[in-house]
Symmetry: C2
Subunit: 260 residues, 2 copies
DNA sequence: ATAACAATTAACGAATTGTTAATTTAAAAA
DNA sequence: TTTTTAAATTAACAATTCGTTAATTGTTAT
């Protein structure tokens, strides 16, 4: 960095008091609804409870409220890298799809000053969340359904951030193959349908007859075949069902040639 | 703002040296290609040439290079508001669709220090750009085609920003009705096709037979009818063509019920 | 007149959709 | 063992939409 430049150019402007990264961690949890039935799936978000006191013993800003995991960004890292780091620090989870979706920079959103937050969302398969653990400045970690989360008194502007994260994840689910991040490598059509229905509510998805007729020919999934034998499972049903996996096909859609 | 909080919480962290907003202003210019022919349309981006010297007479960082319009954000405004303000200051244009699309916060991207930039793009109809003017810290304003812009030696990481802006605008054009921001209120199908082709290259769009058969039934456009009489124009052709306008329908598409 | 040409309509086989019904399969109940 | 049950899968079919080629219309230029 060149102090020469800093002197006359930057110092004319007030600089932000902080730069933070928040992460909305989504998962879909399955609840058994009966034997030989596909389990019911619900979208949940992971929040941490802010401690009442800081490590130094001062009363913590927005202490006691539920908040998105996150924290201050270090100058040598980007907001994205900070999101990856913090998610790992606070939950022990690595190697996930993390995506930036918004900037929250309204003055006054954080009493500590002019604090800019970059918001990200992450999608975690259920099984990875078992080993989650609370971090230094979080006393508790918990999963909330979308119904529950909007009842809570959330810290800062996190309610708004979560609403927008939800909107983004719905959009992503409709337009990309993110659904694969909620599913095991090999899955059955009813599992895919269950995941999609947690965030989308297109009528044809709910109609089994339509979904099961069309889904097998979706270009971005394929039947799992081993030595010419289609692989099946009876994980969720008496009758064995075909296993599918996502392939590398990147679907592209446009409103100009869609069906309405 | 509460100094009590600032003391122990924020000051533990280094804060950014600056917070800026950049805007990629896109327009589509029409060039006459012959009488009674729809004009050819080309996507262009507006850049400003950075002055060699600052107002104070110092040599300007990245002076002489082409750059995206933009500047430092004031604490009382959001990055989005700054984008609106700067676009108005630097081009005199207001009332446009401006959208945030990315954060550029890699340390070292700006020699002046740890400077975070929020990037936005704007879509300007050709006719609004006529009254564009250079602003205080810009000596020149010019439009470049996508081919031209990537030949230039651009300031900072603006090449990357423009590449990503282009990607976003393509996506937006496919999934939303932004195309309307490039078109007059009332337009003809070939104009719509021309606009779409500047950024999309789906084969069926190029095939007139397919485009002109399907387009009239797109749910988000409608024929302009006055007193029961369909309105037509011979702006671009000998034979009068039906005028269309966008309506309020918000198209929704998904990869799970698209055609492939 | 008539040739040219974009816009528009017509026509038609092929493919896809929405829907209902039938079949398969294996566990559970009788 | 036989029957029942429920999900997965296939079959069937009319209605719709698609991709394509051909014909028609309206206006200008020759």
């Amino acid at each position: 960095m060149n102090d020469n430049f800093l002197n006359y150019d930057v110092s004319n402007y007030r600089t932000p008091d902080g730069y933070t990264s928040d992460i909305a961690v989504f998962t879909i949890i399955s609840t058994e609804v009966g034997q030989y039935k596909p389990p019911e799936k619900t979208l949940k978000i992971m929040l941490i409870k802010r401690t009442e006191k800081t490590k130094e013993g001062h009363s913590n800003l927005e202490g006691g409220k539920w908040a998105l995991p996150g924290g201050f960004i270090k100058p040598e890292e980007t907001a994205y890298e900070a999101a990856v780091r913090e998610l790992s620090e606070e939950t022990g989870i690595t190697g996930l799809r993390i995506k930036h979706f918004g900037v929250y920079d309204q003055f006054g959103r954080d009493k500590r000053g002019w604090i800019i937050s970059n918001a990200h969302y992450a999608i975690v398969p259920e099984n990875k969340l078992v080993k989650r653990r609370a971090a230094d400045d979080a006393s508790e970690v918990e999963l909330f359904s979308m119904d529950e989360v909007f009842q809570l008194d959330l810290a800062f502007d996190h309610k708004q951030i979560i609403e927008e994260a939800l909107w983004f994840i719905k959009k992503d689910m409709s337009l990309t193959t993110v659904a694969k991040n909620f599913l095991p490598k090999q899955f059955v059509l009813s599992e895919l349908q269950g995941v999609l229905l947690t965030v989308m509510d297109e009528p044809w998805l709910k109609l089994d007859a339509q979904f099961f007729r069309k889904a097998p020919s979706l270009p971005f999934i394929e039947k799992v075949v081993k030595d010419g034998v289609p692989q099946k499972t009876n994980r969720w049903s008496k009758n064995k069902a075909q296993l599918y996996r996502f392939n590398d096909f990147e679907p592209y859609v446009s409103i100009y040639n869609a069906k309405y």
